[in-house]
C-alpha cells in the first residue's frame, strides 16, 4: 500500500468522515500487526479499538505533511508498549535485542532453493523467533511494504537503525529457514 501523506489541502476542515476514509482501510494491517505484537487476538482487538479512539481524538492536531499510516502504526505501537503485555515485553525481552547474535549463516551463501521450499508455517516461526525490535521492522517493511522513512516515523527510530535492524532481521529469518530445512535435508540423507 502506498504511503498516505495528508497535505495542507486535506487538513482544512477534516472531520470524522475524512478520518474514517483514511483509517478504515488500515484496520486489517493494524490488527495483524497488533496480533504479532501482543500474541493475543483479544488483546489485539482492544489495541486496535484504542488506537482508533486515540487517533480520532488526536486527528484535529494531526499535522500536515505527516504520513497518516505511519502515524496510526505509531499510535498502535505506543498503546501496546504502555499496555501490561507491552511493559512485560519491554522488561523481559529487551535483553534479547542487546545480546542478539547474528546467525552463523551469512548472505554470502545463496540458499535460494531452501527459501523457495519454506512453507508459510516455517516462515511464520522464523518471524516469531525474532526479538521484538527486529520483528516489527521486518513486518512493516515486507508485509506493510513501508518505506524506510515511514518505518522510522512509525517506530520513532533513526532511519539508519531501521536499515541495520532490517538487515539483521532478514539474516535471522533466512538463517532459521536454512537451518531447519538444511537439518531436514541432512536427516533425510542419513535415513
Amino acid at each position: 500500500m502506498a504511503a498516505t501523506v495528508v497535505t495542507r489541502g486535506d487538513v482544512s476542515g477534516l472531520d470524522n468522515k475524512d478520518f474514517e476514509k483514511l483509517a478504515v482501510p488500515l484496520l486489517d494491517g493494524l490488527y495483524n500487526f497488533a496480533c504479532w505484537l501482543s500474541g493475543d487476538p483479544d488483546e489485539a482487538r482492544d489495541l486496535v479499538q484504542e488506537t482508533f479512539l486515540k487517533s480520532l481524538r488526536g486527528f484535529a492536531s494531526f499535522r500536515e505533511g505527516t504520513n497518516f499510516r505511519a502515524w496510526m502504526f505509531r499510535i498502535l505501537r505506543n498503546t501496546f508498549l504502555t499496555s501490561r503485555t507491552g511493559l512485560e515485553r519491554r522488561n523481559t525481552r529487551q535483553e534479547d535485542e542487546e545480546g542478539f547474535e547474528d546467525s552463523a549463516v551469512t548472505q554470502e551463501t545463496p540458499e535460494l532453493a531452501l527459501i523457495r521450499r519454506a512453507d508459510t508455517e516455517l516462515v511464520q516461526a522464523a518471524i516469531a523467533q525474532l526479538a521484538p525490535a527486529f520483528q516489527e521492522v521486518i513486518l512493516l517493511a515486507d508485509m506493510e511494504e513501508m518505506k524506510y522513512q515511514e518505518i522510522a516515523d512509525a517506530l520513532d527510530i533513526p532511519i539508519g537503525t531501521v536499515m541495520s535492524r532490517l538487515a539483521r532481521a532478514r539474516r535471522q529469518v533466512r538463517g532459521h529457514i536454512v537451518t531447519v530445512l538444511g537439518e531436514k535435508k541432512i536427516a533425510g540423507a542419513k535415513r
Binding site: N32, Q49, R116, I138, L166
Partner: protein, 245 residues
Amino acid sequence: MNCEWREKTGLYVDGELEPAAQQAFAGHLQACSDCSAAVLEQQELKKAVRLAGKRFSAPPELYANVRKQMRPRAGAGMWWKLGSVAAGLVIIAALGISWFSRSSGRNATIAQLVDQHVAMTATNNLDVVSGNQHTVKPWYQGKVPFTFNVPNLAADSPFKLIGGKLVYVEQKPGAELVYQAGLHKISVFIFQAGDHASRQPAWNHDSSFSVSSWTAGGRQCYLVTDASQDEAGQLVTLFQEANRS
C-alpha cells in the same frame, strides 16, 4: 565475493535507491551473477515474509465496533422533536439501508466466488491435485488459519474430488475444494467465519450459477456450481455432516 555493489542489494530490493542508482544497479545485475543471485534470494525472502506475515485478519465485528466509535449517535432530544411517525420512517429507512448494504456486501462476495469458480474451470489451475481427501486436507495446514473436514465419499457417490486451491477473497485466505459431478464442476469455498453462529444453507440464483452459503463451527462455506441445486445440495449436506462439531 567482493563486488562493490553487493551491500546495496537490500536497498535495491526495497526500492530505496535513488531512481538513477536503481537503474544503474539493474544494469549491473545483467553482468554480475553474484549480485543477481543475492537480489533474487532477497526478493524471495521478502515475498515469503509478506505472505507469512499476513497471518491475522480483522474480524467483522472489529470493523463494526470501530465504525461505531467513529460515528457518535445523534442527540436524544432531536428524536423527540421528530415525532413518532418521523422516527418510524427513519428506522424503516435505516433498516432498508442496512439490509441493502449487507446484501450488496454479500452479493459482491458471491460475485467474486463465481469469478473464482469460472477462472478455475477455464484453466484447471489447482494447487493440489488429488482425489484423496487425506492428501487434500493436510495440504491446507499452515496455509489457512482454520481447519475443516473433507467428506469421505462413498464409492458410488456422484461426486469426485479433483483437488484444491488456496484463494484470497476480500483479503482473507480460504480453501477452494473442487469436485466433479458428471460434466459439471463444483467449487466449495471455506473461510473463517466472523462468529460461531450456525446458518442453514441459503441459495442464490442471481447469476447463471447456483450458489449456496452456510455457516457452521466458525467456518463460512459457499458452494458454486452450474450443476442443479438438487444435485449440489447433496454435497452441501455431506460437508455439513463432515464438519458437524
